[in-house]
Symmetry: C2
Subunit: 329 residues, 2 copies
DNA sequence: TTGAAAGCGCTAACAT
DNA sequence: ATGTTAGCGCTTTCAA
């Protein structure tokens, strides 16, 4: 693979001139430009990013941290990030941390090492303290997950309000016994969604009963099945369930079905996230949609701004309740 | 961020010695090593990959090309790739081409540019000619998708045999009218799976009827729904369906359900891929499992070998038929 | 065992 | 408008 020097020699100019042609910068006579372009073609030359990046001390690589690539929730967000990144001549490095602190370290080091210019983190299990330390010296944006009162800029939705809307929808349909399948409340979003659930119940003077609130350790399907199994054993069976993730909701759907009950006639179900599979279920799932693509775009724009040295403000985006068969069969 | 020179000064040694300590190479007296290590800690020094990579003319980045991140089929493969990559001090750059030729170009250029050391491609829609050209000068491995008689090493399963096993399973259950929901036969795997389907039918003297073979343009759920709708309108309704992807099969499941028919009593269904959601459906889906994690590991090992300059051979891995409720309710 | 020096490929400041 | 020069941070000869 030819280098800039060889192109320069072939074109009979200096390396600096070749560089100027490559970067369309300042003054190059059209005659010289032609010579250089010809030499580039001739030698099949491609500039080395390695040299360029070292010189400019940037990598034009953005790190995107997700807990696991198997979670479909992140798909659209990533598309958004990617679109904005590529438009700004950045590439993204998708990193599944699998909630593994060692992995985190590898990726943090990439930033310190100049192998990446910044981070968008969507991992709620990430080491907060290390992230905060890193954020003092390097551009970092939180997406979807964030820290209350933290100093790292974030983009998110109003989880409390979104949960409130979901539960209010169930109430409006006449449900009075509404269960909550929540995840681990060490996560901020889980706490906020419970608050929204409770706010809706209180507003309509409905009881908040402990037996109707179930916490799962993880968001996988099986945990939804298990949660629903328990809820069906409660003395006064709930007539509706709000699950804080679609995968949990789909698990609940399955378990209700297995028990010979009908959704939504016996039990209505609402999920959260509007993952692709949420309209492949039978019945299709009512769910809360986060503007994922937009969230990704926003996060990427914020990060790129940060890299440029600008100050950026956190942003809260709107959500949307998508009503489908699992509540309005 | 400190550089190697500053560490050297602080430790009272040369940059060369610091480099030796960093790379655990050749001879450094333990006394000097201690001094250097102390200085590194003191300055919070992290070596710049940019400098190192330029010098070594490698990036230790592996490109992984997939058609779209939203396809759950790739999840486990990627995990396998990632595991092997990290163990060998490589990072992976996950690239969704969205079957967009411009994207392909960006990624091809990264390799030419030395921003990546090699490519694992899982994109069946990729530009074959350009890929072949690139493969002459750079390490490339095909994973799952490959080219018959091509020169690029690949890892895959025997699609024909796998389809044969799936259909034979349906036949053994007593089905005589077996439909095929296939994807676009421009893809090699689609042609091979049809061949397997036909081989099984022939072996048991069952008719291969055109009306029972439906081709979809894409693999999404909706296309499965549509395909099944058509198959249900055929005069002699099939009693079993083999779909070449789980998403298509799940679509078929849904449509059968909507028409008040029962799976598997009225129609048995087999999918392909064993995606996570294939056991969240109702009934759970019988499907062909590819050893995805292993496939990813294998591909990564092959690529790394290639980068080292070794010759590598293509590999065909075993598949497995996972029997669930959609055929054995 | 260690240091000096060269150079990976590129760009930017300065000079002409 | 173009060339010269220096240097980004690192590793690797070669010499001591």
């Amino acid at each position: 693979m030819a280098n800039i020097q060889q192109v320069a020699e072939k074109a009979g100019v200096s390396a600096a001139t070749v560089s100027r042609v490559l970067n369309n910068v300042s003054s190059v006579s059209s005659k010289t430009r032609l010579k250089v372009e010809h030499a580039i073609k001739e030698l099949n030359y491609e500039p080395s990013m390695l040299g360029r990046n070292l010189r400019n001390s940037e990598s034009r690589l953005l790190l995107v941290l997700i807990p696991s690539i198997s979670n479909p929730f992140y798909t659209e967000i990533i598309k958004g990030i990617e679109t904005i990144a590529i438009a700004n001549h950045y590439n993204i490095l998708l990193c599944a941390t699998d909630s593994n602190a060692e992995r985190d370290n590898i990726y943090f080091n990439m930033v310190k090492n100049k192998l990446a210019d910044g981070i968008i983190s969507m991992d709620p299990t990430i080491n907060r303290q290390k992230l905060n330390e890193l954020a003092e010296k390097h551009p970092i944006i939180l997406c979807s997950e964030y820290e209350e009162g933290g100093s790292i800029p974030y983009v998110t939705i109003d989880h409390k309000l979104a949960a409130y809307h979901a539960v209010k929808h169930l109430i409006k349909l006449g449900n009075k016994k509404i269960a909550l399948i929540n995840s681990d409340e060490t996560y901020l979003y889980a706490r906020q969604r419970r608050e929204g659930y409770e706010r809706a119940l209180q507003e309509f003077n409905l009881p908040i009963r402990k037996e109707w609130i179930y916490h799962t350790e993880h968001l996988e399907f099986e945990h939804g099945v298990h949660a629903m199994r328990r809820l069906l054993q409660v003395n006064e069976r709930p007539t509706a369930v709000f699950a804080v993730s679609d995968t949990l909701a789909i698990g609940a759907l399955k378990e209700i079905n297995v028990n010979g009950l009908h959704v939504p006639n016996d039990i209505a179900v609402v999920g959260f996230d509007k993952i692709t599979f949420s309209n492949m279920t039978n019945p299709t799932l009512t769910t809360v949609a986060q503007p994922m693509y937009k969230m990704g775009c926003t996060a990427a724009n914020m990060l790129i701004n940060r890299i440029k040295g600008n100050q950026v403000e956190s942003i809260v985006l709107d959500h949307e309740l998508v009503i489908r068969e699992s509540t309005m069969g």
